[in-house]
């Protein structure tokens, strides 16, 4: 049987297979090359980089950019702030989202459709930026660490993912048995639902953590204090607003100063993106799973 099919491999199929392979290689290169270029540019002589002589391999290797970063306090303070926002923010997200998702997953809970509408409505209609800003301002939360931790404490989309998971993946029999034994919702939630929701928990932790890690909008709008600035804001200052590096450059003149500033940029990109890229291969399957769970709703 197999042999028969193998023999039928026609010329057109060979061409097709070859074209697909060629296209996949092209896409692979297009995706990977910019990332690879940043890596080699961060350790090459930046004059050669600017002249376009660094293309595929690093040339005249030096670590000037990384040295500058180690000495720069802004980046480390940004890192520390981001770490606080990611850890505290994600913890708060989970503590708020999971119990609410559980309550909304109870089929016997009569108000659940109305409460769901209460959440879903905010996905489609909002007060807008200015009224939100005014609200936060009247709570005296502008330029505090608190607002950057609690902002978007619950994301409605993630809430739906969690609710769908609990509803579909945790057998209803368990609930009935637990209720018969006189188990309360609290006990059932903590002893049965949470341990059985590892998959969706990890998906949500990742979604929320990446959101906090990459967030710069909230910090841009709701915070103006330098000491609260997360990493992304610091990156924007260094990478996009071209603010000179605190140490070094002061006495360096002209072209050399600019080119070393460029090398710092490449290094900053690496240092700020590396943590996520290191974690990524280990969590990739959870991200894929998250997309699947979310798609059930659509």
């Amino acid at each position: 049987m197999n042999k028969a099919i193998g023999n039928r491999k026609t010329l057109s199929d060979r061409i097709f297979g070859f074209a697909i392979l060629a296209l996949s290689i092209l896409i692979f290169v297009i995706i990977l090359y910019p990332l690879w270029f940043i890596v080699i540019a961060s350790i090459s002589n930046s004059n050669l980089v600017n002249l376009g002589q660094v293309k595929f391999w690093p040339k005249d290797i030096r670590f000037y950019g990384y040295q500058q970063i180690i000495e720069d306090t802004r980046i480390w303070r940004g890192y520390l702030n981001t770490l606080i926002y990611v850890l505290a923010g994600t913890a708060l997200n989970m503590v708020v989202t999971m119990p609410a998702a559980y309550a909304l997953s109870r089929r016997g809970f009569k108000a659940r459709n109305k409460v769901m509408f209460y959440f879903v409505f905010t996905m489609f209609f909002s007060g807008g930026l200015v009224p939100t800003y005014m609200t936060i301002s009247s709570l005296n939360l502008i330029s505090t660490k608190t607002i950057l931790i609690i902002f978007v404490a619950v994301n409605t989309y993630n809430l739906i993912i969690a609710r769908t998971f609990i509803e579909n993946s945790i057998p209803e029999d368990l609930y009935e048995a637990a209720i018969l034994d006189g188990c309360s919702h609290f006990a059932y939630f903590t002893k049965v639902v949470v341990p059985l929701s590892k998959a969706v928990n990890s998906v949500l932790v990742l979604y929320y953590a990446v959101y906090h890690w990459n967030d710069y909008f909230n910090a841009l709008v709701y915070n103006s204090k330098q000491e609260n600035a997360p990493l992304q804001i610091v990156l924007r200052e260094i990478l996009l607003l071209n603010q000179a590096f605190a140490s070094g450059n002061g006495g360096v003149q002209g072209g050399y100063g600019q080119s070393s500033a460029d090398q710092v940029k490449y290094a900053v990109i690496i240092v700020s993106t590396l943590p996520i890229l290191c974690v990524y291969p280990f969590v990739q399957k959870y991200f894929e799973k998250g997309v699947m769970i979310g798609a059930v709703k659509g």
Binding site: D13, L35, A100, A103, L104, F124, F125, P131, V221, S272
Partner: protein, 317 residues
């Protein structure tokens, strides 16, 4: 549910049952409380604050104390030259984002699905997801470096291929803004958005492929007549969701890509709201522009939802 309650409480009194019901619901409400409270304060209170758009804002009286001015700020926006230009820019950017950005992950998923070598397939998949995790700030600075006039590698490569005129300053040219925004967006999100299609493709019944082979179809025909129809429902749902967001251009990337040379094409409604409403403290005017944007989006969503209900029987609401 009914039968469950019957078996569970068949020989218990009505009073006990009622008591038990409230006991349970009280706990559910408590579990909902933090989330509902958050939504109340940060979503519904700002909605109440929308009235700011119809009032004169003053620092003494706060949001609700100013005097009513009716549609003054809306008129101010509609009559300003910024109205047409922000609306047009927003529309053009989202239009091209959908036209180019929507088919890309579908094509990618079909290519990945056709790869026969397992290890290479896995490698390609892992690689194309990576750019999604790059933050917008880093993404935009990568664009600035790669397309910089003179030293940008990718810019120079395109110039060498004569895809771009040799004397173009890609980052400073208005006509280059939209292609740059859209294509780098494809680079970043294509892989991530393909996940859902790859999943849909992997659930195609393998008997169909065998039947195709026996009928003498080649791989290209199989892809066209088996694979593609299999993902059409997924495509439709995602297309509707995308259409509903047509005037919802993300603030982050546009704002960061703005510079004095491309502002004519890169000032969209959301960045305009930020620059007039928050940065220059014209709170009432900013609220009015923001409300206009929200209402248009809401309208688009309701219309696309209605069309999808009529044509496919499924909707979001």
């Amino acid at each position: 549910m009914g039968s469950k309650n019957q078996t569970a409480t068949a020989n218990k009194s009505l009073g006990f049952r009622t008591k038990k019901y409230f006991e349970h619901n009280w706990q559910l409400w408590l579990m909902l409380l933090p989330a509902m409270l958050y939504i109340l304060v940060f979503c519904y209170v700002p909605m109440y604050g929308i009235q700011l758009a119809f009032r004169e804002y003053s620092f003494q009286t706060g949001i609700t104390g100013g005097k009513w001015v009716g549609l003054k700020y809306f008129r101010q926006y509609f009559e300003s030259p910024m109205f047409f230009s922000t609306l047009k820019n927003t529309f053009v950017i989202s239009f091209w984002s959908i036209v180019v950005g929507f088919p890309a992950p579908i094509i990618l998923a079909m290519i990945i699905n056709q790869l026969r070598n397992k290890r290479w397939k896995k490698t390609v998949q892992t690689t194309v997801y990576i750019p999604y995790f790059i933050s917008t700030v880093v993404m935009v600075s990568m664009i600035n470096v790669m397309f910089a006039n003179g030293s940008g590698v990718v810019g120079n490569f395109l110039k060498a291929l004569h895809l771009v005129a040799a004397d173009t300053n890609i980052l400073g040219k208005e006509s280059a803004f939209v292609p740059l925004y859209v294509l780098t967006g494809v680079w970043q999100a294509m892989g991530w958005n393909s996940i859902i299609y790859i999943a849909a493709l992997s659930s195609v019944d393998t008997q169909l492929y065998d039947a195709c082979k026996i009928d003498g179809a080649n791989r290209w025909q199989t892809m066209l007549h088996i694979d593609f129809p299999a993902i059409v429902p997924t495509i439709m749902i995602l297309l509707i969701m995308n259409m509903g967001n047509i005037l919802n251009v993300g603030f982050d990337k546009v704002y960061l890509m703005q510079n004095s040379l491309n502002l004519g094409i890169s000032q969209v409604i959301s960045t305009y709201v930020y620059s007039v409403g928050v940065k220059s403290s014209q709170f009432s005017f900013g609220a009015a522009v923001g409300l206009f944007n929200t209402v248009i989006n809401f309208f688009f969503l309701v219309v696309t939802n209605w069309i999808s209900r009529r044509s496919t029987g499924t909707g979001l609401m």
